[in-house]
Amino acid sequence: MLSAEGLIKRFNGIAAVDGLSLTVGRGEIFALLGPNGAGKTTTINCFLGFVAPDRGRATVGGVDVAMYPRETKRVLAYIPEQVNLYSHFSGLENLSYFSELAGARHREETLRGFLAEAELQKEAHDRRVTGYSKGMRQKVGIAIALAKDAKALLLDEPTSGLDPSASHEFSVLLRRFAMRGAAVLMATHDLFRAKDVAARVGIMRHGRLAHTFTAAELSDTDLEKLYLETMQA
């Protein structure tokens, strides 16, 4: 569903992404690990069409993002580190608004169903989002992806700043989302969460994918060791 082929992106001559190739299939969760500046966010931005690659191509469902950015955006959902919602609106109103922008009009009961599926507490549906925690905002983000019926979900550091319980809850939601047949690409610093939620994990360094492995291959300790060795290499 998501595919990067020899992706290269330079900023002022410095390669942020340097020949990255990866694929994320339907129903699969792929976690990208790496330090700040490794190229994780640039990779996601290439899939979103926010950044045009200098070489190589990013495709969504076989469609080249650089050539058809609007078409690919229709099937993508994106959850950044901080989900920005309109503060004067409730979670339900935000969901309704973003769904309509995505071209999907739903009845109120259906929208409430998406929020419930994203496990946002019922009493928070009609409350303004100014009082929402980060985790609650993430849930609205998931609900937006559900309402849009996104075929691929891109996440950039979604669990940073979440407490362990909220982080675990978010992992469950991601797995459930992937089980609907969506491809999930998540950039994260959280080794434990990456191994917990993802089917495959990639470690990026200097814009390259240094290692790719299935989560079952390594224990938490082995993963940490490999990550540190990669960073020190």
């Binding site: 309109y86 004067h88 922008l101």
Partner: protein, 125 residues
């Protein structure tokens, strides 16, 4: 999509506390301006009536005159100030106000066409 965005922006603006405060202040200022304008209008009309009453009384109290002599006399009158004038008094509230208004009905003769034109020209200026 534009309608969706416009609706969202409108609702957001209504819910914004800053907009509510600004709108309340503007409405309060408007109400004060209307009250002050109405008070000024009432005062002005009362002053005009007070100023006009003795002149009118003098006019009605005079002896009948022959039409030739009557043509040299007149009555000062204020142009009527209509209610909407307190919102917009016009380009110049002083011009042609009050005007010399020659009145001949008491003398049982008609005002001439020429005098009517003169009054109109005075009013127009």
């Amino acid at each position: 999509m534009i309608a969706t965005i416009a609706r969202k922006e409108f609702i957001e603006m209504l819910r914004d506390g800053r907009f509510r405060w600004a709108a309340s202040i503007v409405l309060a200022l408007l109400a004060i301006a209307l009250l002050a304008g109405a008070y000024y209008q009432r005062e002005l009309v009362a002053q005009q009536r007070a100023a006009q009453a003795p002149e009118q009384a003098r006019w009605y109290a005079q002896e009948p005159k022959n039409p030739h002599a009557a043509a040299h006399y007149g009555l000062y009158a204020f142009k009527p100030r209509l209610a909407p004038a307190f919102l917009d008094p016009g380009s110049n509230p002083i011009r042609a106000w009050p005007s010399g208004w020659r009145r001949t009905s008491r003398m049982k003769c008609c005002i001439g066409l020429e005098k009517t034109r003169r009054w109109r020209s005075v009013s127009a200026n």
